[in-house]
Symmetry: C2
Subunit: 148 residues, 2 copies
Amino acid sequence: MSDVKGAAALRATLVFNLGTLGALAADRFAGRVEALGLKPKHAGLLAALDGGSAASQQELATRLGVAPSLIVALADQLQELGAVERVRDPEDRRRQVLTLTAEGRRLLDRCAEAAEAADAELTAGLTTAQRTALTRGLRTLGDRQVPH
Amino acid sequence: MSDVKGAAALRATLVFNLGTLGALAADRFAGRVEALGLKPKHAGLLAALDGGSAASQQELATRLGVAPSLIVALADQLQELGAVERVRDPEDRRRQVLTLTAEGRRLLDRCAEAAEAADAELTAGLTTAQRTALTRGLRTLGDRQVPH
DNA sequence: TATTGTTATACTCTATAACTATA
DNA sequence: TATAGTTATAGAGTATAACAATA
């Protein structure tokens, strides 16, 4: 029993390639946003705040899949950059509602530019068709996860 | 100047989706191989040793893009599991040549199975065509990186 | 008593630097 | 002197647990 699969079988899997390329992509993105004083997680939080209705920190923690204490730290740093505001919910004074400021939206736009630049670098050897097919595939895959 | 892009533009990028899905995929894979006493990096090292000609630890460090001291730790643990052997190169007694044992190949096969199971879970909502297209896209993207 | 946010603490991962042995 | 491997140490990132305020 127990098929012999070896390295070739592992390299053929989606998770293996997603894992290695994901780490690479995260590094490239991190390198570009650090000039803004941000880490990838800050960008993720800014993105979660944009468009979405004003959210409490607990909601954001579960939405991003991180510990609430991490949201506190990220929000502290974003607040120091003037990117977010904390407002106590008058209906429930335990809740801190985070909202993007104009500066926060500006930073988010810079993050998007950084990501686009990293995309261009990463996909330099690919055709436009390959690139868009890949992006769409990843988005549909991502949309299937956490489909609450 | 300075286009307004917002969260939608960020979410449309490859690096953003690769980063988030890569972290998710790595977690799922880690959850499955930890029963084998392994972390994803161990699997990466095992895969690097399979097929490839016997490699020194320095070569492996640069190949995997990690510090040499990390290879030492990973190899220590794999050796303890009986998965690799360290043999001093008689030509240059400073070099430790790592080779897979039969147990190492067995563990590598188990890692491949774990990755395939994680794939199935992750792509549950996708058609076969979507899944193979995505896997191929990622492999071609991965092959373009570090094309030394 | 339960929940939100916060703080304090600890743990995991990994790199850098110092060291040993061989060259 | 330079290089392969190892060991010691330190830093980043993040979670867990204890705590305060509010419900």
